[in-house]
Symmetry: C2
Subunit: 226 residues, 2 copies
């Protein structure tokens, strides 16, 4: 299954089929029907037991599709970007967080999410599920982050820290990288020289930190509000 990933459940497979992703095969129960635009997509009717064997869920919902992992710009050594908001995930490890960040980016109209190569596999079934259909719309790619920042010195890099400029009152550009660090360790030391703006979400209570996906959501919301 190199270069492929699973998409499970009726709703998600329907979204997949309206996307630009290549779909190799659809394994569906007899009762379910899917309209396939591409003749290269095989549609195979299976029984309950077979579907359960293919699925990663105990109780699969009607269908499992095999799709091809797209290759956006991870192979371009120095991807020059246009202005705009971009999400950068540095060593993000939790699949639920990765999927939720992709979904939130899609809500806020952010088109690109970059992941460091040591981040979680975004085609793992938990990410696919948490991202809902957003994985098929947002361009997600793995990339060498120092190279990305080097090639895009014209774009500010905003990193969230425990102390920094108050996101509610500081000026936020319309264009920027929003850099999200690892759940336990934050932004890696080797990326710190690329961070142009240190921002912080003010704390009013006692929690030591925020969940990475919640913090990312609040930061995206602030950028879009302003």
């Amino acid at each position: 299954m190199y270069g492929k990933f699973l998409v499970e459940g009726d709703k998600l497979v329907r979204e997949l089929l309206t996307s630009h992703f290549k779909v190799d095969a659809i394994y569906k129960l007899h009762s379910a029907n899917y309209e396939v635009r591409n003749r290269a997509t095989e549609v195979i009717t299976v029984n309950d037991l077979e579907l359960r064997k293919i699925s990663t869920h105990e109780n699969p919902n009607l269908v499992v599709a095999v799709a091809e992992i797209p290759n956006f710009n991870s192979q371009i050594p120095n991807p020059k970007l246009e202005d705009g908001l971009h999400i950068v995930c540095d060593n993000l490890s939790d699949p639920g967080n990765a999927g939720t960040i992709i979904r939130t980016a899609d809500w806020f109209g952010i088109e690109k999410v970059f992941f460091s190569e040591n981040s979680v596999d975004i085609y793992n079934p938990k990410v696919v599920s948490a991202a809902k259909g957003s994985l098929f719309r947002v361009k997600c790619s793995y990339i060498d982050l120092p190279n990305l920042f080097e090639a895009n010195r014209h774009i500010k890099a905003y990193g969230t820290f425990m102390s920094g400029e108050d996101i509610y009152t500081t000026k936020l550009n319309k264009s920027g990288f929003i850099v999200i660090g690892n759940e336990a360790n934050g932004i890696s030391p080797e990326l710190l020289p690329f961070i142009t703006d240190r921002i912080t979400i003010p704390r009013f209570g006692k929690a030591e930190s925020l969940n990475a996906a919640v913090a990312a959501g609040i930061v995206m919301s602030e950028f879009c509000r302003k």
Copy 2:
């Protein structure tokens, strides 16, 4: 284990021991040491294999504690609340979301989180883990939500919907219930009559919805910002 719950891992158990929660027992490896203030807490040294049997993790981290579920105000039929921000979770079903909402409430200094009785069990290990230490600080309780709203007509109830007042520009009280609905179905029909203010997080992109914990985080952030 009726009325008890497990707290797993070194960091979380240390936070538990500094909280007001009653701790019945601590099962720890020989190499770990915990200072116990209450003589009623049993400290039992176990070996690797025993710890793995007690723990819900495959690779437990040094310690598992058994704590008592506190009883805040779920048994009071009509709990009159003082002004302030309170979180209300209506039929919330995902443990990760529940824990994350408790953690986010703690970050924003919100002291009470109410759950409808059909919500996820907040003492389930996944909630405990996602809440980090915040479960020991924020007062969480299960309660009949219509009763809660009935008894507190002086407090506004803000519900998040796909269409409503733009949270960025609408006036938000310092006092209010922030009502978070079920992940798939939103706020239950029987609670709608109690919602005084319909608010919405503006959408700039294409995602159908936001994750419940992210939406809750953005709303809490907006209340605290203003």
